[in-house]
């Protein structure tokens, strides 16, 4: 049965694009979760909706406007967090609703677009064209290479920004690079699971991986494995059950999270508290 599904070109394209997106979401997600930017994906995806509306309204290829508007939104979010006393989640709420509001206004002003906006909201991985696939693979490769090159710097920045600065890292520049990379990741990925479910791919594999109590590289490896496994099985299961792929992928990822939690509570997994409410402050 699996071979039958794999014989269809649209399934092959979906799986290849899905694996690429699964990798960049979980890799980028490791830093996003640890920096308490878990809802960043949601925020940027909503801004991307505004960007798509702008593109459709102006007659420009909507994904390009989505990239531009999302990067602007991401930088705005970063600036809002740094230079005001607005907390991280509130800043995400401001940017998220602003971006979405622009989208809603443009949709209503033009009397509704001909393109199915639902595919942007809920994902449309089975409808991916050759051009989409090439774009997803090219951008994903760029994101992966950048993350591999900058992973140590991002890890230090994530661990303690002030210490990173004292270590000679250009933290302001790195923060902007981080936000731009995260925005590109989100816009590239939301074709897979849709803007409403993008946070799931960013957050769930990572919080599951962190329960294994391993170091950075192994945690990233576990997260990538969970993410890619969820994407592959999600696409195949959705094909057989004839349901939406995006929702199936997310439910499988949630299933792995719940299973890991059960293993942890029964003592099979080493006990590591994943929901300690506050940060550890080491008074040396």
């Amino acid at each position: 049965m699996i071979l039958e599904a794999l014989s269809y070109t649209f399934m092959q394209k979906a799986l290849v694009a899905g694996i690429a997106v699964g990798i960049i979401c979980s890799f980028m997600g490791t830093f996003l979760v640890l920096r308490r930017y878990s809802l960043f994906g949601d925020g940027i995806a909503h801004v991307a909706f505004g960007g798509i509306s702008v593109g459709l309204f102006l007659g420009i290829f909507p994904l390009w406007t989505a990239f531009v508007v999302s990067i602007i939104g991401g930088l705005g979010l970063q600036k809002l967090r740094q230079s005001t006393k607005i907390s991280g989640d509130a800043a995400v709420a401001v940017v998220l609703s602003s971006g979405f509001a622009v989208g809603v206004i443009l949709v209503s002003a033009s009397g509704g677009f001909s393109v199915d906006l639902f595919s942007f909201l809920f994902g449309s991985i089975l409808l991916i064209s050759n051009e989409d696939l090439i774009m997803i693979l090219a951008i994903s490769s760029g994101v992966i290479i950048t993350l591999v090159v900058l992973q140590k710097q991002f890890l230090h920045l994530t661990f303690n920004e002030e210490q990173a600065k004292l270590g000679g890292l250009k933290t302001t520049l790195l923060n902007y690079a981080f936000v731009i990379l995260a925005s590109i990741t989100v816009v590239t990925s939301f074709r897979l699971v849709g803007m409403l479910l993008i946070s799931a791919l960013v957050v769930i594999p990572n919080i599951t991986a962190m329960m294994f109590g391993k170091g950075f590289k192994k945690t990233v490896g576990i997260s990538l494995t969970i993410s890619v496994f969820s994407v592959i099985t999600g696409i195949l299961v959705s094909y057989y059950l004839n349901v939406a792929a995006s929702g199936t992928i997310v439910i499988i990822a949630v299933g792995i999270l719940v299973g890991t939690l059960i293993l942890k509570s029964t003592g099979v997994l080493r006990k590591v508290d994943i929901k300690t409410p506050s940060k550890i402050t080491h008074n040396s």
Partner: protein, 271 residues
């Protein structure tokens, strides 16, 4: 080896909302010194360190290895700093090895900083090795603080004393010219304190690393520091430790003011 000035602080004043946290202090630190800074809570010790590290605006003059202002950025990465508080996520997926490796800075930065220092009059004679042998450096730093056996342990699983040594290893891994430690044993058990002091002594004597550390522990200062600075916003004393500990009046004033602040904090916490 000529004795050179590592740090030169002149007329330093730092205000918070028009109240001085550090009030017009001047002192210097020579190469190879182990300077213990004593002072009650709120005396401005951490603020002073932050100003030295370029994290705090101030009026006055601070020179590191004879440099100030624009060239500061090249010098700062060559300083090892262990702050009083290091905050991180409890489930941060990093091992001891991961955290210590964060202390390594690029060859480019090292060369840039060392070149600057060698150009100045202070005739710096430390030799730097390339960080290509990264693993050796990390192992060496862990060996110095006695944590080789915990290199693959997650940092969230360590005790306070072990964490403190991890951060010292992180500061040491880049072969610092100067090590600044802000109340390093404030919440560490006695056994770990002894281990820590032995490490500090070894780093200072064997590696010839200049150390500045703040502490409330006068016994430790008398044992391990060669110079003492006593401050409470203003600088009351700076000089050889023998002179400090032989000045009964100064010691009495320090102990009383420290006790008063301690009692005030205690009452405040009770309410």
């Amino acid at each position: 080896m000529s004795v050179t000035s590592v740090l030169d602080v002149k007329d330093l004043t730092i205000n918070y909302d028009n109240h001085p946290a550090v009030d017009n202090i001047s002192f210097d630190v020579k190469q190879g010194d182990c300077l213990g800074i004593v002072g009650p809570n709120g005396a401005g010790k951490t603020t002073l360190f932050r100003a030295i590290l370029g994290l705090q605006s101030y009026s006055g003059n601070i020179k590191l290895f004879g440099f100030e202002d624009s060239k500061y950025d090249s010098i700062i990465p060559l300083i090892g700093y262990v702050p009083q508080k290091v905050t991180f996520e409890p489930n941060f997926p990093a091992t001891v090895y991961d955290v210590v490796s964060m202390g390594l800075i690029s060859d480019k930065r090292v060369v840039q900083g060392v070149k600057l220092i060698q150009e100045c009059d202070c005739c710096w004679n430390r030799i730097y090795h390339s960080i290509k042998k990264k693993d050796d450096k990390i192992t060496q730093a862990l060996h110095t603080v006695g944590l080789e056996s915990l290199r693959n342990r997650r940092i969230g699983e360590l005790s306070g004393g072990e964490l403190q040594r991890v951060f010292i290893a992180k500061a040491l891994v880049k072969d610092p010219l100067l090590l600044i430690l802000d109340e390093p044993v404030a919440s560490v058990d006695v056994e770990s304190q002894t281990k820590f002091y032995n490490v500090i002594q070894r780093i200072n004597k064997e590696n010839n690393i200049t150390i500045i550390w703040s502490s409330h522990d006068l016994d430790a200062i008398s044992k391990y520091a060669n110079r003492v600075a006593c401050m409470n916003k203003k600088l009351f004393f700076h000089g050889a430790k023998e002179k400090f500990f032989s000045d009964k009046e100064l010691l009495k004033t320090y102990t009383e003011s420290s006790m008063q602040i301690h009692m005030h904090d205690h009452k405040h916490n009770m309410h």
